[in-house]
């Protein structure tokens, strides 16, 4: 078309990945600037405010780091499932179940000391989140239900379940009718690191990231997951238990998202309330793809997209831009990266 054609490369483009990500960022920022222009705002000022809000001040950096914690954990989880080509779109719901699981422990054992209660909360969050991911896994294996659809639908059920709890049985009688649970006791709250606003959940992230990296790289099970991701036929030839591995990756995926929910409730809001559901689980999908499923890159892109969220909030305040603008930018970045990935295996040639 238009005198150009695609030609398959003999070898994948080794420098492709970073160039494509940067190119995609530039392209999506460009389109965003155009959209600002259409809204009658100054594009240059808009991008400047975005930069200010994302990286321009210490509060912005801190805010982004805080937001990147749940995004990172969810993305680490979905990346594990994606690696096996199991399309878990349900981090959002698994996040909600994790928050519910942690709250259950916090509300039922309020008097336990922190060193007992905290592990219990993390354990219960992992079990709840893992269970929520186990449902689509088993549906896929037994009934061939497409996991993209089932995980997505379970997100809505999870959110409704969370709302049912905070509007009903777990509602704080002293909340003047607001849908929140009672505030957690001291042992159930993850504390701040020193004087900063950063909490100890950040350390959990680092631990989980290193743990998953080592798991995938050094263990036999991690290798089996990688092989199973290459296709069911190869897995069958290698005599791998494909079904069990599917369940395992979904459970890991759900448990990590569950931890994100646990940390968000305990450290940030100190109670369960519907406002914790702000779409981290969906952003995580973008993050995992941007990072091409690698834990270190997941950390970087989780931070970048968290910064984008903070920056767009700043734009909303300063320039009266609709809240949906953030989602639009996120979507633009994902689309341009996905489209750009074609250039790793193809090159564009002028027609002779």
């Amino acid at each position: 078309m238009l005198g150009y054609r695609l030609q398959k490369r003999d070898e994948p483009w080794s420098w492709g990945a970073p160039i494509i990500v940067v190119g995609a960022l530039v392209l999506s920022l460009g389109i965003s600037a155009l959209l600002l222009k259409l809204q009658g705002k100054s594009a240059v000022e808009g991008l400047f405010v975005l930069w200010q809000g994302s990286f321009g001040a210490s509060w912005a950096l801190e805010d982004a780091l805080l937001k990147s914690i749940p995004i990172f954990l969810c993305a680490l989880g979905v990346a594990t499932a994606f690696r096996m080509q199991v399309w878990n779109i349900g981090a959002e719901g698994q996040f909600a179940l994790g928050a519910i699981g942690a709250t259950w422990a916090a509300l039922n054992f309020p008097d336990l000391p922190g060193y007992l209660l905290m592990p219990l909360m993390f354990f219960s969050a992992a079990v709840f989140g893992g269970f929520w991911a186990y449902i689509p896994a088993i549906l896929r294996l037994k009934l061939k239900v497409n996991e993209i659809i089932s995980t997505l639908m379970l997100n809505y059920i999870a959110i409704l379940l969370l709302e049912y709890l905070v509007f009903g049985v777990w509602k704080d009688p002293k909340s003047y009718g607001f849908p929140v649970t009672p505030e957690f006791t001291g042992g159930a709250v993850i504390g701040q690191i020193g004087d900063s606003r950063l909490h100890w959940g950040f350390v959990v992230c680092i631990g989980a990231g290193l743990g998953m990296w080592a798991f995938m790289r050094f263990t036999r099970l991690g290798f089996d997951i990688k092989v199973a991701g290459e296709g069911q036929r190869v897995a069958m030839y290698s005599r791998l238990p494909y079904g069990k591995l599917t369940i395992l990756v979904m459970a890991i995926s759900g448990a990590l998202a569950g931890w994100a929910g646990c940390i968000e409730t305990s450290a940030v809001v100190n109670r369960l309330q519907p406002s914790i559901m702000v779409g981290y689980g969906y952003t995580a999908i973008v993050v995992a793809w941007l990072a091409r499923l690698h834990p270190l890159y997941i950390a970087i892109s989780a931070y970048l997209l968290a910064a984008l969220r903070v920056g767009v909030e700043n734009m909303q305040l300063e320039l009266q831009i609709p809240a949906a603008f953030g989602s639009i930018m996120e979507g633009l970045i994902l689309m341009s990266v996905l489209a750009g990935q074609m250039l790793v295996t193809y090159k564009i040639r002028r027609k002779k």
């Binding site: 070898e11 036999r220 290459e230 190869v234 069958m236 030839y237 290698s238």
Partner: protein, 513 residues
């Protein structure tokens, strides 16, 4: 094909009036190479109007390469294509379409949610807007002319495989293709639908189309072809008029061929205990199979593809569950063997599909080594990748797998090198039973020789079940030969029995003396 249906063409179906016609398309001395492998060697073919030419050949004989050149996807390295006697260069598939060449592939390319007529007109040049009724009428008329009964308003997703195939054909007829090439068209059809396809093919020839029918089903070729061309190892081995072929067995004999491409010396090794026994196995597409393989011997299963070889391999290699108490490996019942299977001193399977079954295309050679040997490089929960890398490097050097880097990904290797890697890995496991499926398909002579020698050497530790479509390979490697037809073993005999070997074509065609 089963059932009593008579496939022969009635006289009323004969195409007349094209006796002296010039060929529509001529291939002139076409050669195509991929690296060292010659996929097509000096192929010349004439396609005449009103005639059906059957192209027979095993998988890997070069059929798809030839098709791709006719479709304008590949350019021949030597030789050229003539359209109506004029030399033409196809630079893209558009040129091939313009020349009137159309393909019906095994995988249909249809939009499931659209109607028959919409699919037929999709992508055709012409006016931008089309009246749906006129569209339906045009397609209906075309269908009637060629006896391709179909409702133009039906949705593709509601159609059977046979009906979908008719839509594919209508697409070609609508853009006035004159040469229609069918790639194993009956593979997806029921016998009844297959016969209706034949009627449509006859209708096409009566209207002056030229048909190329690619198949390895002998009955069908006997029933519908006017001319038969046999493709083997990339070259046209034989080309005859259908009238000259006296019987199915005659055709089978021609297909098998006799020439010896390569000879290897075969040392005697000691024959040991039974490593594989198949006892009266009926089910998963097989009937009454009895077979055994001892350590130190090679048993070759030969036959035309699609006669139960794949089912047998899948059963033995554990990909598919056979009926109870029919397969015994190393003296254990199937179920027990696979439950207790260890990574070494066990069974190795070298599949026909090297990329995507035997290897993972996007993983490097170390990871691909670990596919089946992983258990041997495991310590507690950990994988000893460094140790595996060392072994991979040794194997790459010993088997001369090129390029010699263990970081290379499976898909970057040529067929021959990939096969050597698979062989290296599977022999590293010190198996007692080896199932080798078409181990030299698509390999050049030197790689074939290496694979043969390695397999013969492997007899010292294992019994080998060899599945091959190449009789030469069977003769060179095997101690005993078993011929399969329609899910049964027709006969089994020592390879030294030349009388039986000479008549192997009959057995492959299902004729018992």
């Amino acid at each position: 094909m089963k059932g009593p249906q008579d496939l022969t063409r009635p006289d009323s179906q004969k195409a007349t009036g094209f006796a002296d016609a010039a060929p529509l398309i001529s291939l002139k001395g076409i050669t195509k190479r991929f690296g060292k492998v010659v996929a097509n060697k000096d192929i010349s073919l004439d396609l005449y109007p009103g005639r059906i030419k059957a192209l027979l050949g095993e998988n890997g004989a070069g059929k798809s390469t030839l098709m791709n050149m006719l479709a304008g996807r590949f350019k021949p390295d030597e030789g050229y294509i003539e359209v109506d006697g004029v030399r033409k260069e196809f630079t893209s598939s558009k040129d091939a379409i313009k020349a009137g060449i159309g393909m019906v592939y095994q995988h249909f390319m249809l939009v499931e949610t659209m109607t028959v007529a919409e699919n037929v007109l999709l992508g055709q040049e012409g006016s931008f807007f089309i009246n749906p009724r006129e569209m339906n009428d045009r397609v209906r008329k075309l269908a009637v002319d060629y006896e391709l009964e179909i409702d133009p308003t039906a949705r593709i997703s509601d159609l059977s495989m046979g009906e979908k195939q008719r839509v594919e054909i209508l697409k070609l007829l609508y853009r006035e293709s004159r040469v229609l090439i069918f790639d194993e068209p009956t593979a997806v059809l029921t016998p009844r639908e297959a016969f209706r396809l034949f009627e449509a093919l006859w209708a096409m020839t009566r209207l002056g189309k030229s048909v190329v029918f690619i198949s390895h089903k002998l009955e069908e070729v006997m029933a519908i072809a006017d001319e038969v061309a046999i493709l083997r190892r990339g070259a046209i081995d034989d080309e005859v008029m259908r009238d000259k072929i006296t019987s199915k067995a005659d055709l089978a004999c021609r297909m098998v061929g006799k020439e010896v491409l390569l000879e290897v010396t075969k040392e005697d090794v000691e024959i040991g205990e039974k490593v594989l026994e198949v006892k009266n196995m009926t089910g998963i597409g097989l009937r009454g199979i009895n077979l055994h393989v001892r350590k130190g011997e090679v048993v070759a299963i030969v036959g035309v593809a699609g006669n139960g070889q794949q089912e047998l391999v899948e059963g033995v290699s554990g990909l598919r569950k056979p009926p109870k108490d029919t397969i015994f490996i190393m003296n254990k019942p199937w179920r027990k063997f696979f439950a207790e299977m260890t990574w070494n001193n066990s069974m190795s399977y070298i599949p026909e599909d090297r990329l995507d079954l035997a290897t993972a295309r996007n993983l490097d050679l170390v990871d691909n080594l670990l596919l089946t040997t992983g258990k041997g490089f495991t310590k507690g929960p950990f994988l000893q990748r460094d140790k595996a890398a060392k072994v991979a490097q040794e194997l790459v050097e010993e088997y001369d797998v090129r390029p010699g880097r263990i970081q290379a990904l499976a898909w970057q290797l040529s067929g021959g090198n990939l096969q050597k890697m698979v062989l290296a890995r599977e022999l590293y496991r010190q198996p007692h039973l080896i199932v080798a499926e078409q181990p030299t398909q698509g390999l050049d002579i030197s790689a074939t020789e290496e694979v043969w020698n390695k397999l013969l050497e492997a007899r010292k530790m294992a019994g080998i079940l060899l599945i091959t479509g190449d009789l030469g390979e069977a003769v060179q490697l095997a101690d005993r030969v078993a011929v399969m037809y329609c899910g049964q073993i027709m006969d089994e005999f020592p390879v030294t029995d030349t009388a039986k070997l000479d008549n192997i074509g009959l057995l492959m065609a299902g004729v018992r003396e």
